[in-house]
Amino acid sequence: MFEIVLSVLILIGAFFTLVGSIGLYKLPGFYMRLHGPTKATTLGVGTILIASSIYFTVKTGSLSLHEFLIALFLFITAPVSAHLMSKVALHIGTKRVDRTQDYIDKKDDKDSLD
Protein backbone atom coordinates (compact mmCIF):
# COMPACT_ATOMS: atom_id res chain seq x y z
CA MET A 1 0.00 0.00 0.00
CA PHE A 2 2.73 2.42 1.04
CA GLU A 3 4.76 1.58 -2.04
CA ILE A 4 1.75 2.07 -4.34
CA VAL A 5 1.04 5.55 -2.97
CA LEU A 6 4.71 6.43 -3.25
CA SER A 7 4.97 5.12 -6.81
CA VAL A 8 1.90 7.06 -7.94
CA LEU A 9 3.24 10.28 -6.41
CA ILE A 10 6.67 9.81 -8.00
CA LEU A 11 5.20 9.08 -11.43
CA ILE A 12 2.88 12.11 -11.25
CA GLY A 13 5.82 14.32 -10.28
CA ALA A 14 8.05 13.02 -13.05
CA PHE A 15 5.22 13.42 -15.56
CA PHE A 16 4.62 17.06 -14.65
CA THR A 17 8.35 17.79 -14.76
CA LEU A 18 8.37 16.39 -18.29
CA VAL A 19 5.30 18.43 -19.27
CA GLY A 20 7.02 21.63 -18.13
CA SER A 21 10.13 20.88 -20.15
CA ILE A 22 8.14 19.89 -23.23
CA GLY A 23 6.41 23.27 -22.98
CA LEU A 24 9.80 24.95 -22.82
CA TYR A 25 10.98 22.99 -25.84
CA LYS A 26 7.93 23.23 -28.07
CA LEU A 27 6.09 26.53 -27.63
CA PRO A 28 6.87 29.22 -30.23
CA GLY A 29 7.32 32.49 -28.31
CA PHE A 30 9.12 33.47 -25.12
CA TYR A 31 5.98 34.63 -23.30
CA MET A 32 4.35 31.27 -24.07
CA ARG A 33 7.46 29.37 -23.02
CA LEU A 34 7.45 31.15 -19.66
CA HIS A 35 4.23 29.37 -18.69
CA GLY A 36 5.41 25.79 -19.00
CA PRO A 37 8.33 25.53 -16.57
CA THR A 38 7.14 27.99 -13.92
CA LYS A 39 3.88 26.14 -13.34
CA ALA A 40 4.34 22.53 -14.27
CA THR A 41 7.86 22.10 -12.95
CA THR A 42 7.15 23.48 -9.48
CA LEU A 43 4.09 21.22 -9.30
CA GLY A 44 6.19 18.22 -10.33
CA VAL A 45 8.97 18.93 -7.85
CA GLY A 46 6.38 19.58 -5.13
CA THR A 47 4.81 16.16 -5.69
CA ILE A 48 8.22 14.44 -5.66
CA LEU A 49 9.06 16.24 -2.41
CA ILE A 50 5.81 15.01 -0.81
CA ALA A 51 6.76 11.46 -1.89
CA SER A 52 10.23 11.86 -0.37
CA SER A 53 8.72 13.17 2.88
CA ILE A 54 6.39 10.15 3.14
CA TYR A 55 9.22 7.74 2.31
CA PHE A 56 11.61 9.05 4.97
CA THR A 57 8.82 9.32 7.57
CA VAL A 58 7.97 5.63 7.11
CA LYS A 59 11.60 4.53 6.75
CA THR A 60 13.06 6.26 9.82
CA GLY A 61 9.94 6.15 12.00
CA SER A 62 10.11 9.83 12.87
CA LEU A 63 8.37 12.69 11.10
CA SER A 64 10.46 14.05 8.23
CA LEU A 65 9.46 17.60 7.38
CA HIS A 66 12.64 19.13 6.00
CA GLU A 67 11.56 18.38 2.40
CA PHE A 68 8.91 21.02 2.81
CA LEU A 69 11.70 23.54 3.25
CA ILE A 70 12.63 23.11 -0.43
CA ALA A 71 8.96 23.09 -1.47
CA LEU A 72 8.29 26.31 0.43
CA PHE A 73 11.40 27.95 -1.00
CA LEU A 74 10.53 26.91 -4.57
CA PHE A 75 6.93 28.06 -4.25
CA ILE A 76 8.08 31.46 -3.03
CA THR A 77 10.88 31.98 -5.55
CA ALA A 78 9.28 30.62 -8.76
CA PRO A 79 6.80 33.52 -9.21
CA VAL A 80 9.49 36.06 -8.32
CA SER A 81 11.92 34.83 -10.94
CA ALA A 82 9.14 34.41 -13.55
CA HIS A 83 8.02 37.98 -12.96
CA LEU A 84 11.56 39.28 -13.27
CA MET A 85 12.18 37.31 -16.47
CA SER A 86 8.99 38.62 -18.11
CA LYS A 87 10.00 42.15 -17.08
CA VAL A 88 13.39 41.66 -18.74
CA ALA A 89 11.72 40.31 -21.89
CA LEU A 90 9.44 43.36 -22.09
CA HIS A 91 12.36 45.67 -21.46
CA ILE A 92 14.65 44.28 -24.14
CA GLY A 93 11.73 43.93 -26.58
CA THR A 94 11.49 40.21 -27.14
CA LYS A 95 9.34 39.40 -30.16
CA ARG A 96 5.82 38.14 -29.60
CA VAL A 97 4.01 35.59 -31.73
CA ASP A 98 1.75 37.41 -34.17
CA ARG A 99 -1.55 35.84 -33.24
CA THR A 100 -1.10 36.55 -29.52
CA GLN A 101 -0.89 40.32 -29.96
CA ASP A 102 -3.55 42.75 -28.82
CA TYR A 103 -5.94 44.32 -31.30
CA ILE A 104 -4.81 47.82 -30.30
CA ASP A 105 -1.17 46.89 -30.72
CA LYS A 106 -1.87 45.60 -34.18
CA LYS A 107 -3.88 48.66 -35.21
CA ASP A 108 -1.42 51.45 -34.62
CA ASP A 109 1.59 49.16 -34.92
CA LYS A 110 3.33 50.78 -32.00
CA ASP A 111 4.94 49.12 -29.05
CA SER A 112 3.05 50.76 -26.22
CA LEU A 113 4.48 48.47 -23.56
CA ASP A 114 6.66 50.02 -20.94
Binding site: T17, V45, S52, M85, V88, I92
Partner: protein, 89 residues
Protein backbone atom coordinates in the same frame (compact mmCIF):
# COMPACT_ATOMS: atom_id res chain seq x y z
CA UNK B 1 8.24 -2.18 -7.39
CA UNK B 2 9.50 1.11 -6.00
CA UNK B 3 12.87 0.50 -7.63
CA UNK B 4 11.30 0.02 -11.07
CA UNK B 5 9.19 3.15 -10.66
CA UNK B 6 12.28 5.10 -9.63
CA UNK B 7 14.12 3.91 -12.71
CA UNK B 8 11.23 5.05 -14.92
CA UNK B 9 11.14 8.41 -13.12
CA UNK B 10 14.90 8.83 -13.62
CA UNK B 11 14.37 8.28 -17.34
CA UNK B 12 11.48 10.76 -17.55
CA UNK B 13 13.29 13.50 -15.64
CA UNK B 14 16.43 12.91 -17.71
CA UNK B 15 14.42 13.46 -20.89
CA UNK B 16 13.05 16.66 -19.33
CA UNK B 17 16.60 17.81 -18.53
CA UNK B 18 17.67 17.02 -22.07
CA UNK B 19 14.81 19.09 -23.52
CA UNK B 20 15.64 22.12 -21.38
CA UNK B 21 19.33 21.72 -22.24
CA UNK B 22 18.37 21.75 -25.91
CA UNK B 23 16.50 25.01 -25.37
CA UNK B 24 19.56 26.34 -23.54
CA UNK B 25 21.66 25.71 -26.65
CA UNK B 26 19.29 26.85 -29.40
CA UNK B 27 17.45 29.58 -27.43
CA UNK B 28 17.07 32.49 -29.86
CA UNK B 29 17.44 35.17 -27.18
CA UNK B 30 19.49 35.62 -24.02
CA UNK B 31 16.39 35.60 -21.80
CA UNK B 32 15.37 32.24 -23.31
CA UNK B 33 18.65 30.84 -22.06
CA UNK B 34 18.04 32.27 -18.59
CA UNK B 35 14.64 30.56 -18.53
CA UNK B 36 16.20 27.30 -19.72
CA UNK B 37 18.81 27.47 -16.93
CA UNK B 38 16.02 28.10 -14.41
CA UNK B 39 14.17 25.00 -15.62
CA UNK B 40 17.39 22.99 -15.65
CA UNK B 41 18.16 23.64 -11.99
CA UNK B 42 14.59 22.80 -10.94
CA UNK B 43 14.88 19.52 -12.89
CA UNK B 44 18.17 18.76 -11.20
CA UNK B 45 16.50 19.27 -7.79
CA UNK B 46 13.88 16.70 -8.82
CA UNK B 47 16.48 14.17 -9.92
CA UNK B 48 18.53 14.66 -6.71
CA UNK B 49 15.47 14.08 -4.50
CA UNK B 50 14.69 10.93 -6.49
CA UNK B 51 18.27 9.73 -6.06
CA UNK B 52 17.99 10.40 -2.32
CA UNK B 53 14.95 8.10 -2.20
CA UNK B 54 16.83 5.51 -4.28
CA UNK B 55 19.85 5.46 -1.96
CA UNK B 56 17.80 6.01 1.25
CA UNK B 57 20.16 8.78 2.21
CA UNK B 58 19.26 12.30 3.34
CA UNK B 59 22.63 13.63 2.15
CA UNK B 60 21.23 14.48 -1.28
CA UNK B 61 18.57 16.62 0.32
CA UNK B 62 21.22 19.11 1.46
CA UNK B 63 22.61 19.29 -2.06
CA UNK B 64 19.13 19.94 -3.46
CA UNK B 65 18.55 22.73 -0.93
CA UNK B 66 21.85 24.38 -1.85
CA UNK B 67 21.10 24.11 -5.58
CA UNK B 68 17.65 25.64 -5.09
CA UNK B 69 19.08 28.66 -3.24
CA UNK B 70 22.02 29.20 -5.60
CA UNK B 71 19.85 28.67 -8.69
CA UNK B 72 17.41 31.34 -7.57
CA UNK B 73 20.23 33.79 -6.89
CA UNK B 74 21.74 33.01 -10.29
CA UNK B 75 18.46 33.58 -12.11
CA UNK B 76 17.92 36.89 -10.34
CA UNK B 77 21.48 38.03 -11.03
CA UNK B 78 21.28 37.17 -14.74
CA UNK B 79 17.89 38.88 -15.08
CA UNK B 80 19.11 42.02 -13.32
CA UNK B 81 22.16 42.06 -15.55
CA UNK B 82 20.04 41.86 -18.69
CA UNK B 83 17.66 44.50 -17.33
CA UNK B 84 20.18 47.13 -16.27
CA UNK B 85 23.60 46.05 -17.48
CA UNK B 86 24.61 45.94 -13.84
CA UNK B 87 23.74 43.64 -10.96
CA UNK B 88 24.06 45.87 -7.90
CA UNK B 89 23.66 49.54 -8.61
Amino acid sequence: MLETVLHIAFLIVSVAMFLSFYRLIIGPDAIDRVLALDTLYINSIAILILYGIYETSSLYFEVALLISIMGFVGTIALSKFLLRGDIIE
